[in-house]
Symmetry: C2
Subunit: 397 residues, 2 copies
């Protein structure tokens, strides 16, 4: 049984803040500050160039990859960390298209995070070989898996509403249609149990600054199924993905397996923070996280619906169909979120009208949830700000 | 006149080390440790998600870009920081090829850093539209600028020998042939005065962890000439290069000018270190840096050639034809460099036989140079290690 009092104690949270935005940027794990400081002063400062070997910097992307792999059901040696999520989307997409050369369609949905769609669009335009990015509504994905689809590119959990796709079912459907799958786990990794290998995903990507608490701008990760890893030829064929980076050959030869998805020099300070953040997960059972996240979000929905009738639930009512955040709609959502933040309840706003609240059991408990609902009620009832104040604040961004 | 005693005092260098590898990884600027710690504990820890606006995180890539711009002759608003150098090479190349759609050749040279060639190779294979990466010897570049060349991709300073291309002349030649230019400034930025705008370069890229001292894995930069910046359509079209990233539109619209070369979420901890490292350059005149770097390297060459006749100069003898490092060849170069490092003189080795020494006047003086030459003489004369010890060490990597 996961001890959530113990996990909470591992975070540095500002006094008076109820942080319901760990789904956007996870808070600072206490150990990360010391770890980064050590990397800066003792490793960079004292070992200098020697840090690459003597402090193990060069292996950090693979080590962090394996640690994340354990949280998403990926076997050892199938995940590597680096770059940004957008870059990893591009790498996975280019690899998938090369493996399905006779097909021209990238299928995605309107609930995908826009940057994934932008990267797909950029690849399609760069290729200029008649590829098409086809965007359908989330509920139409299964039926849109026609024989011309090369790859299905989806984010498992909708960043606005929290609606969750059925990864296993859609992957099966995609494979039945002869398509490959790329799953973006930005709102999944660390939020609930994920089983990329069990679901048969071909590629998965994700970021580490949300539920994994790796810090602002923490690097992304990419998973490639074992069966494919030695077959993909990376579009972004950087030297650290080379079979022998330090041979400095003029010709590129891809490294073995997942190593070829590395590109350039890894960001060591960010990786140090991430490594400390991943320590928090030792002894945490993601099934416990899921159970508690559902308890917290169900409680929040019940409290908000009874206290704030003007808010409309934007997330699926069935917790099994959600990720780990809950969203409500309100036409004055932006001003309401400003008022909440001013009262110490930090969620976020997504245009045009969505108030988004993340439930991250590692550091959020039932008391936080009840208090957040009470403050939200206060605000909506006019006890915190009057309408003029709302209007004034709404224009100041 | 630049005060090099003052710049040296701004670095944390381990006792007993003569660090001649700032061309590989710059040492720790003292202010960087405090700056990173503040970013971690006060910004990430206390501001949480609010750091993106309240700590100015979102603007850091543009601010750092402008600061680097001042060191490479790039006007305000033409440089942005992010990703790795390899990724920036890919972005620039893809943009250049799109601007020269009727030409199929990427011209480069065998002195280019291999990762640049690998990225070009990856792009050529991904495009699969008959493009060719043509690699010639460095001295043949000018004559190889034929009418089929779309883009000339060169690293100004050879990472092994320090040989320096004539950026202005080759850019003129490339333009006369109708080709665009991409200059990799990895061993130029912070090493000597660079004038990308004056030389007419179309694109430039570089890393910030060498002479700019941004730390291990510090992000790269990209320059796009003002006249082109609004015309390029980025291949890596990420959300932070979008005209309105937080509108979350489904369709990509490139941001204005250099902003479109941004891709994903920027690495804030690395950018904090880089920002502190760039403070060191305030009050530094790069002409002074160049003069002193030449003095130091000329002294080193003279000392080494008089003390160590077994070493052969691998760098051009004319300092004007070199960057800021000097290389010597020796068949037992690997073991010699091991011996040097064991004696506290840190340079590096590049296969098969190159000993590389970087001269970075911000923290290296004439006393260091003389002492390094004396220790090198000691080693080569057998006073430090006997031949057996050499052999033993040479097999342990």
């Amino acid at each position: 049984m996961t001890d959530f009092t113990a996990t909470r104690a591992q975070f540095d949270l500002p006094d008076g803040i109820i942080y319901l935005d760990g789904n956007s940027l996870g808070p600072l794990p206490k150990a990360a500050a010391a770890r980064v400081a050590r990397t800066v002063t003792e490793e960079w400062g004292q070992l200098l160039i020697g840090g690459w070997n003597r402090a193990g910097w060069m292996d950090m992307p693979a080590r962090a990859g394996d640690r994340i792999g354990r949280l998403i059901g990926a076997p050892e040696g199938t995940v590597v960390v680096g770059d940004t999520l957008s870059v990893k989307v591009y790498q996975a997409l280019a690899s998938a298209l090369e493996l399905r050369r006779n097909r021209k369609v990238i299928l995605s949905d309107s609930g995908n995070f826009p940057s994934d769609l932008y990267m797909a669009d950029g690849l399609v335009r760069t290729l200029a070989t008649g590829h098409e990015l086809r965007i359908v509504e989330p509920e139409e994905v299964a039926n849109a898996l026609t024989e011309d689809v090369a790859v299905l590119l989806l984010t498992e959990v909708d960043y606005r509403t929290g609606r969750r796709h059925d990864m296993r079912r859609l992957t099966e459907r995609a494979h039945a249609a002869g398509a490959l799958t790329i799953w973006d786990l930005a709102h999944s990794a660390g939020a609930f149990p994920v089983d990329v290998a069990g679901a048969g995903a071909d590629f998965a990507v994700g970021c580490t600054y949300k539920y994994l608490n790796g810090g602002p701008g923490a690097p992304a990760f990419v998973y490639v199924a074992h069966a494919l890893a030695d077959r993909v030829r990376p579009a972004l064929s950087g030297w650290l993905g080379h079979e022998a980076p330090f041979a400095f050959d003029l010709a590129y030869r891809p490294g073995a397996g997942i190593a070829r998805m590395r590109v350039g020099t890894p960001p060591i300070l960010q990786l140090a923070a991430l490594d400390a953040a991943l320590d928090v997960w030792e002894g945490v059972d993601l099934s416990d996280v899921r159970t508690r996240s559902i308890d917290l979000s169900e409680l929040f929905i019940a409290e908000v619906e009874s206290r704030c009738p003007d808010l409309t639930l934007a997330s699926p009512r069935d917790p099994a169909a959600r990720g780990s955040h809950v969203s409500f709609r309100h036409p004055e959502g932006f001003a309401i979120m400003q008022a909440l933040v001013a009262r110490g309840v930090v969620g976020d706003f997504r245009a045009p009208d969505i108030l988004r609240f993340g439930f991250t059991p590692l550091f959020i408990g039932t008391k936080d949830v009840r208090q957040a609902a009470v403050i939200l009620e206060d605000i909506l009832s006019g006890r915190t700000w009057d309408r003029d104040e709302f209007r004034r604040r709404a224009t100041v961004t």
